[in-house]
């Protein structure tokens, strides 16, 4: 599991959002774990999300859990339904609303490169 997490983080550092795609049942999962949570198959393909999605939920946080976030208040998090079908959490623009189209990027936070969503520049 830790090996998969490290690989996922390395992809993030390169600006890529990795996910696992099951060759047996075509299930896509954002929480990597080395087996398919739907059918149990270990025949998974490591893929990179194309980058587009739609906001499912959004919240602006005014109270932070840890010192590193206290200096960033207010900041926003969102649940985004990626075009590949997975739902993921990421940082988000402050003024997004559910239903809006977004595209992903990564931004540094401490030693990590964290997923972020902003309003998509292209009309679709």
């Amino acid at each position: 599991m830790q090996e998969l997490i490290e690989r996922h983080r390395q992809d993030a550092a390169e600006g890529k959002l990795a996910y696992e795609s099951c060759r047996a049942c075509d299930h896509h999962q954002a929480f990597v774990r080395g087996f398919c949570s739907r059918c149990g198959s270990e025949d998974l393909e490591w893929k990179t999300a194309a980058g587009g999605g739609r906001v499912a939920a959004h919240s602006v946080l005014h109270r932070a859990p840890t010192p590193d976030y206290r200096e960033k208040v207010p900041y926003a998090i969102a649940l985004v339904d990626l075009d590949e079908g997975m739902r993921v959490m990421g940082h988000a623009g402050l003024d997004l609303k559910p239903g809006e189209r977004v595209s992903l990027s990564f931004a540094p936070h401490g030693e990590r490169s964290l997923l972020r969503f902003d309003r998509s520049s292209r009309e679709e």
Binding site: I5, H8, A30, F31, A56, A57, H58, S59, V60, L61, H62, R63, A64, P65, T66, D68, Y69, K72, P74, Y75, I77, A78, L79, R87, V88, M89, G90, H91, K97, P98, G99, H109, R112, L114, L115
Partner: protein, 381 residues
């Protein structure tokens, strides 16, 4: 099969209880429950506890048994977040019905507010119900997770922030009638709207406080020594741990758990006469009321405005003030709803007593981010 009855309930006031640790609060509540039922320690053959964030221990149930002076033949703790209290009582029901135990003490308590490290420590600990790799690193908090689902749910069913505020106002009004409640000063919808933002769309008064407190419930097979209230039905549902992995943002498992509990009794949601529904946030109780079927989707606030959930309305709800105003001390917070429903059904609610027969009660707890659900149906017989 034997039947499971409530023999006694006990609690401490909720709020700032300086100098009391988890074992103190659990002991006070347990002693009150035994006294309420007229039971001696030696009669308790089953002990179930939750966890305490203020006193993490590998074996909290055994620790408490030794401390309180019990030698149960069945004893362990359960961890299910806010659903723990209802899950403990459900297990007590099953243990009694199966004949494994005769008298099961369920007890919870912690000094979550005044524990060294206090609120900030609790907030950080609680945020860990999020995914360690894919949620927590984003600075997400429990109010943040609930803020997310509130944004989705309110958009889907055209619910306003003023609608949510109705639930906070109702709980505060109820808490004003309970001498043990933490927050008793009346508030208005405008007060809720003006309270400082925490995790949009949730503001401070949409969120429950953090409290010290303890609650205990005694479940028995002995109908003759019970309070006339039976644990008639119980059900659970667990669809996810993390909000990112929830299969739906409007069907979280609450209805599934409730339907199981109702099916066991032959009763339906429309027959419930008094309810205790988990209200960690205004959005929590709004979603649960609507998912379980106490209100149509998007209509809980309208019913609240009409007085539907008032003590003299068709469905008295959280008449002790709920987590939002009675207070939230972890596992005990989720058990306080049950204690209040039992008191109302058995005529023990004092000046808050609802002045009509209450034959069917319902209690629902949820843990995590609407992740784990336990429903209980109580009947007066």
């Amino acid at each position: 099969m034997k039947q499971a009855w409530i023999a006694g309930v006990g609690d401490t006031p909720f709020g700032r209880l300086e100098g009391r640790d988890s074992l103190d609060l659990m002991s006070q509540a347990a002693a009150a429950a035994l006294a309420d039922g007229g039971f001696e320690r030696g009669e308790i053959d089953g002990l179930l506890t939750g966890y305490s964030t203020a006193m993490p221990h590998l074996m909290l149930a055994t620790l408490f048994a030794e401390h309180f002076g019990l030698s149960p033949r069945y004893c362990h703790a359960i961890q299910l977040g806010g659903a723990t209290g209802c899950a403990l009582v459900m297990l007590a029901k099953l243990l009694v019905e199966s004949g494994q135990c005769r008298n099961v003490l369920v007890v919870a308590g912690e000094n979550r507010l005044t524990n060294p490290g206090g609120r900030d420590s609790a907030i950080q600990t609680l945020a860990q119900v999020g995914h360690a790799e894919f949620e927590v690193p984003f600075g997400a908090t429990i109010p943040g997770y609930y803020g997310l689902l509130a944004s989705a749910y309110m958009g889907a069913y055209d619910i306003s922030e003023e609608d949510l505020a109705e639930m906070a106002v109702l709980m505060r009004r109820n808490a004003g009638r309970h001498p043990g409640a933490q927050l008793r000063d009346p508030i208005t919808v405008a007060d809720v709207m003006a309270s400082r933002p925490i995790a949009s769309p949730l503001k401070l008064m949409d969120c429950c406080p953090i409290s010290d407190g303890g609650v205990a419930v005694l479940v028995t097979a002995d109908e003759g020594r019970a309070k006339g209230v039976r644990l008639a039905g119980a059900g659970q549902a667990h669809t996810h741990q993390h909000i990112s992995a929830a299969p739906s943002l409007d069907a979280f498992g609450g209805a599934t758990a409730a339907q199981q509990a109702f099916e066991q009794t032959g009763l339906s949601v429309s027959e419930v006469q008094v309810a205790g529904v988990y209200d960690s946030f205004t959005i929590t109780v709004t979603i649960l009321l609507e998912e379980i079927g106490f209100a149509a989707r998007g209509q809980a606030a309208a019913l609240a405005r009409q007085g539907h959930f008032e003590p003299d309305g068709p469905l008295p709800l959280n008449t002790h003030g709920g987590l939002l105003s009675f207070g939230h001390s972890g596992v005990a917070g989720g058990m306080a709803h049950l204690v209040e429903v039992v008191r109302q059904m058995s005529g023990g609610a004092g000046e808050r007593q609802i002045d009509r027969p209450l034959d069917v009660g319902f209690v629902h707890g949820d843990g995590g981010v609407l992740s784990s659900h336990v429903s209980l149906v109580l009947t007066r017989e």
